[in-house]
Every structure is written in C-alpha cells, then in structure tokens.
C-alpha cells in the first residue's frame, strides 16, 4: 500500500488533503468533525479585523442538471471574535496533534497589526500561517485581500513584515484575479514566503434572476461581484499552478493547490502539475466531510496501480509536458476512428464536425439508425467528435504521423513548408 503521508514545509499530515480556509474551517465544531472524518489538515478561516456579513451570501451555476458546478460567495473573513477563534484553534490542535493546523490571516494594512496577529496565532501552537492575499470582495475595498495580491509591491511589503515576526512556516495564498500570478508569486518568494497556495476565488457574476432581474446572490434588491470556485474553476487553477511550477523562482517553494478539487483525480492532476498537497472547499460544502474517504481511497488505489509509493514519486511529473506552442511537433497527426460496435448512433459527432469543424464524418441514413464513419482524408484530428461522443472509448484518436521526424513551427517556417493545408 502506498503512503499518503504528506510533508508540507515540515508540516505533517496523514494525507495531502487540507480543508481550505472557508466556512468548513471557521470553528472548532466543524474542524473536529473534519478531523474525525479523516481530513489531513485545515487552513483555519481567515482571521483579521472584525467584519459583518450580509444575507444572502452564496449563489451557484448549475449545468445540465448538476448542481453547483460553480459556486460563488460574497462572504468576508471570519466574523467570529478573534479570541474565541484562537482558543478553539488551540483546542483542536490538542485533540488532533497529528493533523495540520494552518491559520489564514488578513491583518489591516500596517506592520503592527500583522505582527500582533501573528504573535497571537503562534501562541495557539498552530503549525503554519497562510496569508490571504486573495479574497476578491469586501476586503479589497478596504485595501486588503486581492488588493494586496494584485500588486506585487504591496504584496512584497506585507510578506516582509510577516517574515520579520513569523517563527512558523508562511504560505502566501495568491489571487487569480490577475492576468498572471507569476509577478506577485515572484515578489513574495523574494520577500521570503516559505510557500505559495493558489487559487483563491475568481471575481464573478453567476447569473441574474429572470423574474426579479437582480443578479445573484440577492441582498435587498442588489448584488455584488462575488468569488467563484468549485469544479468550474479547476482548469483555470491548473493553468495558474503550472505557471508557478514552471517559473525559475517560484518553483523553488512548495505549492498548495486549490480550486475545484472535488475528486481524487482532481487532486492527482494538481499534484502532477506541481502542487505538494491540495486544499478543498466547495466539494466539502456541497457534500460534507465524508468525501474524504474516496479522496484518500481513490488516490491510494491509483498510486498502487502506477507503482508510486509516496506522493513525492509523482508530484510535478507533468509540469514539463506543458510547453510553448512553437515547440509542438507539427508532424504529429491523429485521426478519429469510430468503433462501430460501440456506437449508439446518436449523431452528435456528426453534427459537431459537420456544423462546426471539418465536415469529416460521413453519414449514411438508416431507419432509425444512421451509420457514421470518419473521412480520414478530411479529419484534422481536433478531438471534437471524441469529446462529444457519449460512449466511453467509442471514438479513439489513431496516430498517423505525417512524417517520422519532429518538426516545430519555427523550423517549419524556416524550411518554407506549406501552410493552410486544411
């Protein structure tokens, strides 16, 4: 059996799953239930100055009958008194000493506030600090959260203040509300942060109520931009993660991957693209803490199957396979192939290719079932048909190299090879 044990900056946890700083981690009651369920660690809900929340707070995007494919919130940092939070943190650590306890912080924008807050948190026995430079709503207006994360210089300054006072590892949580997370990432690494985590939520409007005409979430006839998370943001999180894992400077620190992790497969993908562990919020908010069972079990079985004994055996393994477009091999070509035994004649591949791709699928009318076949000469190998096909492994992409040798775009141009062949 593989070991799921995780070591993040010396912070040890029995598995690489932490609950992200959010409502699931905002009090002792929840955190104890999470630890009992088997979660490896938590990042306590962000502490800082006192705030007041509104109602309602959440909204979501459903898709094709699935609920909460994307989740959105306009909550602020912890709205509970600081001393109660601190007391409960200490109690949780005592009851579950083998779990990771990281505390998320967002102090007012001055050195003194940060130093005082850090001191108080360290006194609880917490194992690490996470700096919330990401919250996209409510706090930004006060010059905090994403307002810090969006400006590499301010971020650098705050991290320097923190590093002066902190005795335990510091993770800086990055906001995705930027065109690239790398500049802030680099600047906080330079300022001494021990690790990075990403992503926090993405600014969004999830929808508009078609009866009231007010966007959601609804607060007395108004709404505000919220923070988007859940399965819908995973691809964006993975992209940002990869840029951090590939940058010469930021790749020197460990990264905690966040954003849409719902299944063990998602977790593996984050880790393959450089995350040392992952944090989960929406999936737990949708289903409760019990999802940890399959998160661990699925990961374990996958590792056994692939022969990985420890997490380090595969963390970062896919980072190098994401390259620049100019480096892609133009001589690589593949062609769709329909397995007629599996095909259920839904015609989705046909209409997708016919209307929107390359008219590469032949239709032979039948009653009631048509037959669909690929016109090899026309297929550009775009994958669209395979993506829309509802039957697993019914359409496969078969490799048909144009020529054996690797040739990239730059070389292609240099040799004056033909363009626009399709």
């Amino acid at each position: 059996m593989a070991s799921l044990h995780s070591n993040f900056l010396g912070i040890s946890s029995p598995n690489p799953y932490w609950l992200a700083s959010a409502p699931p981690t905002d009090k002792k009651y929840n955190v104890l239930r999470a630890f009992e369920a088997g979660w490896g660690g938590v990042v306590w809900k962000t502490l800082g100055s006192q705030v007041k929340n509104v109602s309602s707070r959440y909204s979501a995007v459903d898709f094709n009958g699935g609920r909460m494919m994307g989740f959105n919130n306009i909550e602020l940092i912890s709205d509970r008194p600081l001393d109660i939070n601190l007391k409960e943190i200490a109690e949780c650590i005592k009851l579950f000493p083998d779990r990771a306890m990281v505390v998320s912080l967002m102090a007012d924008n001055d050195k003194k506030s940060w130093h005082e807050l850090i001191k108080k948190v360290e006194d609880t026995g917490a194992h690490g600090l996470e700096l919330n430079f990401g919250c996209p709503h409510g706090m930004t207006e006060r010059g905090m959260g994403a307002a810090v994360g969006q400006d590499p210089e301010i971020a650098c300054m705050v991290v320097e203040w923190v590093m002066e006072a902190a005795n335990i590892p510091v993770i800086t949580k990055l906001t995705p509300n930027v065109h690239s997370v790398v500049p802030t990432g680099r600047s906080v690494v330079k300022a001494g942060t021990n690790a990075l985590s990403l992503i926090n939520t993405i600014q969004s409007v999830t929808g508009v109520d078609l009866d009231t005409l007010v966007p959601n979430p609804y607060v007395a006839g108004k709404s505000v931009f919220g923070g988007y998370c859940g399965p819908a943001v995973k691809p964006i999180a993975l992209k940002f993660l990869t840029t951090i894992a590939q940058d010469e400077l930021t790749k020197t620190v460990p990264v905690s991957g966040i954003g849409g992790v719902s299944t063990w497969k998602d977790a593996v993908e984050f880790m393959l693209l450089g995350a040392s562990n992952v944090q989960v919020c929406t999936a737990a908010m949708k289903y409760g803490f019990r999802i940890i069972d399959d998160l661990c079990d699925g990961l374990n079985n996958w590792m056994d199957e692939k022969g990985f004994n420890t997490l380090d055996d595969f963390i970062g393994k896919s980072v190098d396979s994401i390259t620049h477009w100019e480096d892609l091999d133009i001589n690589y070509h593949h062609i769709a192939k329909i397995n007629q035994d599996k095909c259920i004649h839904c015609g989705l591949c046909y209409i997708a290719c016919e209307d929107t791709s390359h008219q590469s699928i032949k239709i032979e009318k039948g009653n009631p079932y048509n037959t669909y076949t690929i016109i090899d000469e026309e297929c550009v190998g775009c994958n669209l048909c395979q993506l829309v096909c509802p039957v697993d492994d019914c359409i496969t992409m078969e490799e048909h190299r144009v020529a054996p040798e690797y040739i990239n775009w730059i070389e292609w141009q240099k040799r004056g090879l033909p363009l626009n062949d399709h």
Binding site: G65, I344, C346, G347, L348, I351, N367, P368, N370, P390
Partner: protein, 445 residues
Amino acid sequence: MAIENNRLTEQQYEENFADIHPPYENITAAKVDANRCLFCYDAPCMKSCPTSIDVPKFIKQISTENIKGSAKTIFSSNIMGAGCSKVCPVEKLCEGACVYNLLEEEPIPIAKLQRYTTEIAMKENWQLFERKPSTGKKVAIVGAGPAGLSCAHALSREGIDCTIYEKENKGGGLMTYGIAAYKVTPQFCEDEVNYILSIGGIDVKYNQELGKDITLAQLRKEYDAVYLGIGVGVARHLDIPGEKLEGVVDAISFIYDIRAKGFSTVPVGDKVAVIGMGMTAIDAATQAKRLGAKEVTMLYRRTQDEMPCTEVELDIAMLDGCKIIWLTAPKEVKGINGKVTELVCSKMKLGEPDTSGRRSPIDTGETFTLDVDMVIKAAGQTPFEDLIEDLKIQNLKGKITIDGNCSTNIQGVFAGGDAVNGGKEVVDAVQAGKDGAKAILDYIF
C-alpha cells in the same frame, strides 16, 4: 359462476384503475430525465414517431424550462400529443428507438416527458397556434376521431372553415370510446377535444351520421372538399356457433362501458375468455381482471412471435394474472338457458407465412373445452364495408383505398386513419389527418 357487477370496493376500483403511468410530481423530476437526453442529431426517436415529433428538441426545452416552447414543438407535429403521451405503444415507437437501448440502459421516458409538457399546456389553455384569416374555403370532415380532428386543426390553421360531422355525441373517436380506463379518462378526452377545437374555425355537428343523416353528395356539393375519418366499426364477428349467447360481448363496448358507466356498474364474469392478442384484447383482459374476474384466459391462434401487441403490453396482462393460451382458436360457445357456460377451442399449429408475412395458423383437429361464463371478442374490428360500398368508394374489404395524395376514387373526397389502414394507432391517425389536410390544401388552392 355468474356475470356480476359491483364485485369490489370503491377503493379497490380506484387502485385497479389508477393511471398506469403516473406523471412527474414536479419539474425537478421531469428535468432529471430531460437532462439524461443526449439531444441526438437526426434522432432515431423522432424518426420512429409516425408524426415526427422533434423529440430531442421538446425535451431540451423542458430542461431549459421553456415549457411553452416544448408544447409548441409537440403540438406542431401532433395535435393529439397529450393523448398520445398516454396511449402510444412507445416501446415500439420513439422509446423503442432511443439510443440508450443500445447501451442496455433504460430509454428516456419520452411519453412521460411529453405528458408533462402537454398537461401543463392544456391546464393553462395555452393558445399556441394562430388561425390565418379565413380564406372562404370550406371543408367537411366526417368523424371527430384523431384523424378527423387532426385534419380539421391543420386546415383551420390555414384559414379553412371546417365542419365536422360526427355520429356520436362526443368527439375523440376511439380515443374517447375505445381506449382503456387506466390510460385515459373520459374527462381527459373531452378536455383534449376542446383544447384542439379552441383554435376556432371548426364547427362540430354531433349526432350526424354519414349515410343516415347526411349524404356524401350533399357534402360534395356544399364544401370544397370532404375528408373521411370514420375509423372502423365494431369488433369482428367470430362467426362461430353460440355467438349470440348472453355473456358473449364485444371488447370495445365492454371497454367503453368501463369508461363511461363507472367501474362498479360494469358486469364481468367469474371466468372470462378473451379472444385475440392485440392492444384491444390486452385492454379487455386486464380490465376484466381489474373489475374482479377470478380467472381471465386470453386465446390467440398464433404464437408469441406473431402477436400484434407489444411485449410491454403482454407483460401488463401477465402481471395482472391473465392466463395465455397460444395456438388456440374459438370453435363454439356453449351455454345453458341462453347463458355462456363453455368455450370449445381448436388447437392450432403454424403453417406457411400468409400475406402479412406471419405464419398462418392451421387447425389440428384437436379440441379442448374451457369452463367460462363470459367471452370477450377482441379479434380485430370490421370496417364499415356496407357504408363504403354504398358511397361507391373504392375499397379493399371495406378499407378505403387512397392514392399518394390521400384521395379516394371520388374527386374531392379524401380519407385517412383507421378507415384506410384498417385499424392502427392514434398516432397514425393523427399523421393521416395532417397528410389529408396537406393534400386538401393542394387540391383547393
């Protein structure tokens, strides 16, 4: 043994005749199924619907909560889409073609989704079609069954003034008079007819029978065209001794009485034999059982491979506890004091294929006798051969012959539905009505 009514309690009747396919409770339930639909292109379900309802489209419209659009999609192709959602043998039509069957998965419950939409449309009385301004052209339609109504609606939309002559005092044809009580209620049929007629421009004259109260010559003179949607008549005679004994009944009147008179008033025997294995036979047998008959035996002269009903229907009968004896034909009904006591049956075997392609039954000469007190005849229906002969309309054993343009041999007289095909489903009659309307429009303009 006796034929009696009032065999069960009110509650037992209610349970036995409850809707056989209950509807969705709410939109959430409907959307769970709607979202499973793959939205196939050139969809097999649509191609398997005689009226070509754009099934993926109307289902998608349920999932986007565009119920009005969904209703329009259905009714544009099939104005009896509400009734069809309850009575169509979908297992051999749309649902039978659903691609999920090829994955050995349950097909999309198309009929149930169609019922969801159409029930709302009828309840809300959505007026989805606007009648074009009157063209001044007039068409007479004989028969207010599915074929006639469908034809009238399609013509009225185009601004034709339609008059329907119907011999009964209600519209709907066999939908109202023939179909089993656990599929549709009389109230539903009436509502459906009213909903169809609400487009306007269709005047229905009830208790007007062609050949008795009106003549074809009259209609041809007064109207620009005539459409015959008169269906087929009573149950086929068995032509065996004893057919006149008390206790031998016609399936259609039996079924109609259950619908029209109330469950407890319809008498049923202790031991009932049902002759035939079509949809009517199944409906008669299961309903006899549900009325409290102790034993119901269905007789069919061929085997399960040749039976006209679907497997799903057969299952309904078997689950109701009806016995089935294959390769058996009725030979004689015997009685005492004018009342049925026995049915003598011939054992059959299969011979060479007949014109329908099915192997025809041959009498082996062997017989056996069943103790019964009631015999229900459900071996098909007989067309109105005499009437059609009188009208000098070309026909094949009473089935009206039409050309590719739905036209009979008499100029300006069109026909469709059971009267032409000899007895198929409601959905076929609806399509025939549409085809007839199109042909009539071509003819008069």
